[in-house]
Symmetry: none
């Protein structure tokens, strides 16, 4: 049975950096396994969305799973909530939330409420979930804390809209924002009113809460407000199982990525020691992915660490992380059946260590396996792969190409 594994290193692609003598971190890294994949495979470059457009991790992951993000993307909030095991039903509108600290003028002092502990956040959450929305709203809500200050909010009821603004100013030192409808539809006006009302009720409940009294005693920042952003609904997508007749799983730790995978109908595999940081247990992830291939047709292995180093502007660390990912890939290559398994390696987007942002530059890709037309590329990097036999493709093409190798794409015509 033909199988496939897709390895995505988040934000691994970069631009030439002065501090690396004009090399990209990929070009500067020691990466024999990646080069082996390139040398034995077919290479190319990919625009996850389209040339020049910086992708989010959500839209890029949707694209690399074969979905057209321009058609199906419906905001981050719901994907992140689903990835945190919060139930989101079709029609629900979900937000990403933070417990935060504000002063009496509602200026944000700490967007993370001193990275509040899971214990404190859970106690606060229990109280907040007991609040009842006014009957006239004809709506209910779910509020769930996830890790530290992070939480998810789901609004449920008829006629809701994602066209509402954020209350989160995204930086400390600014006043929290009014939640406003982004268009004139009654659904948007109604949704903004519901969330505004709820945020006010949350503030009142938090102000008097025993947990905050304890935090004040301990000189810890109060968690006296909940900020919300990224209104979203579940994208309407057909699961991979139905599209290609495959069993699929992902090995990922980031909620957002797990959310996208769940929405695509994939099993989500948790790995002890996987943290989403440069200190993650790379080998444990590799072992979990290899093991998953025993029972799955398609496994997606996601590593976040490269993006973390990029957003910190740390090119040296990014280069080291790439070396660690290379050793992870070495394990994968040595433990899968290369006669029946296709392995694709790419990045979900370019993250520049200089701008510290996602950029719209293409990312390198290499696909190794029994069906590929091997090309003459010998190195895995942004520039070397650009000379490969795949040419320049779009994000969703990669999944279609892999499913074609597996004999899983449907013929169009006869």
């Amino acid at each position: 049975m033909l199988k496939a594994i897709l390895v995505i290193a988040d934000g691994m692609a970069d631009r030439p950096l002065k501090e690396l003598d004009g090399k990209t971190p990929l070009e500067a890294a020691v990466k024999p396994a990646m080069n082996r994949i390139a040398e034995n495979g077919v290479c190319g470059i990919v625009d996850p969305i389209s040339p020049g457009i910086p992708p989010g991790s959500d839209t890029a992951t949707l694209a690399f799973l074969g979905y057209n993000p321009m058609e199906v993307y419906s905001g981050r909030g719901a994907l992140e909530a689903v990835g945190s095991d919060v139930e989101v039903l079709p029609g629900d509108v979900a937000f990403r939330c933070n417990f935060a600290t504000v002063d009496k003028d509602l200026v944000v002092l700490d967007r993370r409420a001193g990275r509040i502990s899971n214990e404190d956040a859970s106690l606060l959450t229990r109280s907040l979930q007991e609040i009842k929305l006014k009957k006239s709203f004809d709506a209910s809500f779910l509020f769930k804390n996830t890790v530290q200050h992070r939480a998810a909010l789901v609004i449920r009821g008829p006629k809701l809209s994602t066209a509402v603004s954020d209350s989160d100013p995204e930086v400390n030192g600014k006043k929290i924002l009014e939640i406003e409808p982004l268009d004139k539809r009654p659904e948007s006006v109604r949704t903004a009113a519901i969330v505004t009302e709820l945020m006010t009720e949350f503030q009142e409940a938090l102000a008097e809460h025993p947990v905050n009294k304890e935090r004040a005693k301990r000189k810890q920042p109060l968690a006296n407000v909940v900020l919300c952003r990224g209104a979203g609904t579940i994208p309407k997508i057909t699961p991979l199982r139905k599209l290609y007749g495959i069993k699929s799983a992902c090995v990922a730790v980031v909620s957002l990525i797990k959310g996208v995978c769940k929405v695509a109908g994939m099993d989500v595999i948790s790995v002890e020691g996987a943290t989403g940081t440069p200190e993650t247990d790379y080998l444990a992830k590799a072992k979990a992915a290899v093991q998953a291939l025993n029972t799955q047709d398609f496994v997606f292995l996601h590593v976040k660490a490269t993006d973390v180093a990029s957003h910190d502007g740390n090119a040296r660390l990014k280069t080291e992380v790439i070396g660690k990912i290379d050793r992870m890939l070495d394990y994968v290559l040595k433990n899968i059946d290369l006669g029946t398994t296709h392995l694709a390696l790419t990045a979900d987007h370019t993250t520049s260590c200089e701008t510290r942002n996602h950029e719209g530059d293409p990312v390198p890709v290499a696909v190794f396996g029994p069906c590929v037309r091997r090309d003459s590329v010998k190195e895995y990097s942004e520039r070397a792969c650009a000379e490969g036999g795949l040419g320049r493709i779009r994000g969703p093409d990669l999944m279609h190409i892999m499913m074609n190798y597996l004999g899983r794409t449907k013929k169009f015509g006869s």
Copy 2:
């Protein structure tokens, strides 16, 4: 006057094959003329539909004639009927049919009724065409046998639909299938009812037919049922003449390809000795194409033999056929005016000698002629062309590129 010739070898592209020491049939073949086209031309790879999606010969041919198959494709039945000189009008729904042999439980014993002779099939057809549909159906039909067991059925009347299933189980040993509407629209329900009724009437007429009595005496399989599949209508496309102001013709023998070309308004040139098999008269086809260029602006020369060898899984034969096509191209190159004529060489899809199926891998293309920006590719093959100056394009792009060289594409903007 600038002219162009498009040569398509059906299913010529392939994957690296073990029995050819990891080469594709194109890489293994002796092909000096093809290499001359590549060396003097501009090369690239083409996704007839889109990356990873296996094309049918119908959708691929539509694409290579410049039409977007995702927009215009409307089923195979009508294209094949038109290609067999059966009249199909807009609104008609047409099917591909087979005379077949079934047992008393309607299990198919021979999908080809012993490859019934044209004579027997014609006699049966004459009787079937005399059947009258019930008045309440407000519809009529045309039934025409083509070659051996093959036939076309056209249903004509108001409010018909192509959303009906096939009765043909596509393999021997299975029961014939109920023809069912594929959606709930009244047109689909009505069309399924008409075709079901007609197939029952056909069965009754065939059961008692003198031809079948004679066949029974001769111990030949009875042609006691008509199987139908591939409901389709004429695609709504603008003829090439109107799009580009050109006179165009095709040299092809396969009904489906001829049908697509007719629908595009092209003249269809018949060639004695052209058979659609590896034993076809390649040189006769070349001569016909060269001669057609005297009076036409654009000639499409189609060769089926490569696909036949691929579906048989015969890599050696495919390699030989490519050699024969090369000699055909040698004749073309030596007998056209290379100062005024552009020649494009491609395959309509990849057909793998290993899987014996159409695959979604890209196909090579080379365009030779006075206007091209010659690149450094020196060999015509899947991998060599991938390094060419055309990059990776889509099926319809090739026609637009050729018509651009001929000064026939319209400026967009001013």
